[in-house]
């Protein structure tokens, strides 16, 4: 069973540790997304798995094989690259065939696999064209095909959709998910696009500065971010994160923002008992807010602030309110957004049990 695991991985470039004692493992058939900003080490990690760069220390296992010192071609992997990396002088068929050249398969088997991949990806009419005669989406299909013909148990994707336009990206996203459902390989997928991560992954590893910040299902990562970095990174528009303090009163726990607003925290599942006056960061997702100027049953807190502007993104709209020296973003129905005027004072309520709390000093979830 190809279970991919990284054990105590260290990677250093000239004395600088890019990855330091990193551990991560993913089960067979899972779709693991390595998500993080540029330079967080996610591509380095993928290249280590692919064998394109050598680990400084540690062990990489695929199934029960130690592949740390194996050549890339012997690791039983296939990879799709960001720039597609098709061989420019070969036809589409030639590209797919070359992908099998390490396998030393009989001729009929090669032809059978190439036809299978062509059919699966609907690139049959393109088989005799050169990469330069294909559109971006077609090239991406060929690149995926070249990886699929190998029948590898583990598929690696290095930001495969970032060169495509928005519409194609959505299409290819569905396509890759369909392929994963059909063929069920183990996938390791690197991206900086959180929408890709949220939609495709069965598990997300959020990385920053060479460290895995959180490893969990998309829901876990979104609903219960492990620390301030994850909270700020996942979600668009981003979570509202504000400094505040714990205040205990009348047997209940509340958070008091530095700007004065209060929010009830009775329903929050504290990992440790909160201490009076402890500095915290409170995170409020924009989409949890109630409609503007409307009552909300059992609201944990209410904010009355002047509107700066509204922003419409097709099916959604976001209102931005002046809040101290920053902004408070909250989701609005697009129909309502048109009625709101900048400068008006808006009242929005936040429901109970939805807030995220972090230790102000360590940034860890409370």
């Amino acid at each position: 069973m190809p279970r991919v695991s990284f054990e105590h991985i260290v990677k250093s470039y000239g004395g600088l540790n890019v990855l330091d004692d990193l551990n991560l493992s993913v089960e067979h058939g899972e779709f693991l997304v390595l998500l993080g900003p540029s330079g967080c080490g996610k591509t380095t990690l993928l290249n280590l798995l692919a064998g394109l760069t050598d680990v400084t220390d540690g062990r990489i296992m695929i199934g029960d094989r130690d592949v740390t010192d194996l050549d890339p071609k012997d690791r039983g992997l296939a990879m799709v690259f960001q720039s597609y990396a098709l061989y420019p002088t070969k036809s589409v068929r030639g590209n797919l065939k070359f992908g099998l050249s390490a396998a030393k398969l009989p001729r009929e088997e090669v032809a059978r696999r190439v036809d299978w991949a062509a059919k699966l990806l609907q690139i049959e009419p393109l088989m005799d064209r050169r990469p330069s005669q294909l559109s971006g989406g077609q090239r991406q299909r060929v690149a995926i095909g070249r990886a699929l013909v190998k029948h590898a148990d583990v598929l690696l994707f290095d930001e495969p959709l970032s060169n495509l336009d928005a519409k194609l990206r959505t299409e290819m996203r569905l396509e890759i998910m369909r392929l994963h459902d059909e063929l069920n390989p183990t996938v390791v997928y690197v991206t900086h696009d959180q929408i890709e991560a949220m939609t495709m992954a069965t598990r997300i590893a959020v990385m920053n500065g060479g460290v895995i910040q959180q490893f969990g299902t998309p829901d876990e990562v979104y609903e219960r971010p492990a620390n301030l970095f994850v909270a700020g990174f996942i979600g668009a528009p981003a979570m509202n994160l504000r400094q505040g303090r714990i205040a205990k009163a009348d047997g209940g726990v509340a958070g008091v923002f530095d700007t004065g607003e209060r929010i009830a925290l009775d329903d929050y599942a504290f990992a440790r008992a909160p201490q009076e006056g402890a500095p915290i960061v409170i995170g409020l997702r924009p989409e949890h807010f109630g409609a503007p100027n409307a009552p909300l049953d059992g609201a944990a807190g209410r904010f009355e602030l002047p509107l700066q502007h509204t922003e419409r993104t097709g099916s959604d709209a976001t209102g931005y309110l002046h809040w101290g020296d920053g902004l408070l973003s909250h989701r609005v129905e697009p129909g309502d957004a048109a009625r709101l005027r900048p400068g008006d004072t808006i009242s929005v309520a936040f429901p109970r049990g939805k807030a995220n709390l972090f230790d102000a000093a360590s940034g860890e979830r409370l």
Binding site: F81, S83, T89, S101, A102, S132
Partner: protein, 308 residues
């Protein structure tokens, strides 16, 4: 011809005067006239001697003795060309330039194959594979590219003699290849360095074989640089005199040496028409190659479209 171009350009300027004012004004500035005059002079600088060489080679000796070197021949004759190719004496052999021509070809072919194939594979390895001490090696190559042949001439003679190729065609070819290696390797290395890293990574994951990747992926992408190197190397080898005269034996001297022996005759009168014809014959092959290959070069650029 160049003057014709100038008048044509002037005529063109008149034609477009009506519709493109800005362009017309630019076309008439003193600066552009100065450029045209300068270019015309440059062209004349090369064209006039060439004209004299060409017409002289087509004249008879009687006509040449009249001393009008700019006049067109009264009777056009290829007698001198025929004589230069088939009968002219170089040293003690009188079989014309054709001996030197074939020697040059026999030097050219192995030296091209040897130098280009070696430089190509070395450049490929240095650019796309992790080679230990690659940086040091490149620096040494770079230094070697600046060492003049004259400095290492004597040791090179000793080395080729030990190898048993001194005074043979292979000897000349080997020396040419060795001398060309630094520059050619650097050229190939710089060209391959621009091949996207991801293509190489994909190939490594697909095949992992040094030679398979080279033959199937890298070589087909090298068309343009091959043409450039071919032109460079053919011109170099064909026009060389020093290596040929030093390392070639008596009967294995290249065309340039043959020509020099023929022209620097110490007895009898100088047969200018034969000399000119011989000089032209020696100069023609690289030109022909240049025009032939240059055409492929242009075709390669338009059809290639490497970048995705």
């Amino acid at each position: 011809m160049t003057q014709l171009d100038v008048t044509e350009a002037a005529a063109g300027a008149t034609v477009i005067r009506g519709r493109a004012r800005a362009r017309r004004r630019r076309g008439l500035t003193g600066r552009s006239i100065a450029v045209l005059v300068f270019l015309t002079m440059c062209a004349l600088f090369f064209c006039v001697p060439l004209y004299v060489v060409l017409t002289t080679s087509l004249k008879t000796m009687e006509e040449i003795r009249q001393g009008q070197i700019f006049a067109l021949p009264e009777t056009w004759t290829f007698e001198a060309w025929n004589f230069a190719w088939n009968e002219a004496c170089s040293g003690i052999t009188c079989e014309g330039l054709k001996v030197g021509f074939w020697n040059s070809v026999r030097i050219l072919v192995p030296s091209l194959i040897l130098s280009i194939s070696l430089a190509m594979v070395t450049g490929y390895a240095l650019a796309l594979w992790e080679v230990r001490w690659a940086g040091t090696f490149l620096f040494l190559l770079f230094l070697c590219a600046f060492v003049p042949l004259q400095i290492i001439m004597f040791p090179l003679i000793a080395i080729t003699r030990t190898m048993g190729v001194y005074g043979t065609i292979m000897g000349v070819a080997v020396v040419h290849s060795v001398m060309a290696m630094p520059v050619l390797t650097l050229i190939f290395r710089n060209f391959y360095k621009d091949i996207p890293r991801e293509i190489m990574n994909a190939a490594i994951m697909d095949s992992g074989s040094f030679w398979k990747i080279f033959v199937e992926i890298i070589l087909p992408m090298s068309g343009n640089i091959l043409i450039v190197v071919l032109i460079l190397q053919i011109t170099n080898v064909w026009n060389d005199y020093l290596v040929g005269v030093t390392f070639g034996g008596f009967n294995t001297q290249p065309m340039t040496v043959n020509l020099a022996n023929m022209v620097t005759v110490s007895t009898g009168t100088a047969t200018y028409n034969v000399d000119m014809a011989a000089a032209l014959l020696t100069a023609i092959p690289p030109l022909v190659i240049y025009f032939m290959v240059g055409k492929f070069f242009v075709a390669g650029i338009t059809a290639g479209a490497i970048k995705g």
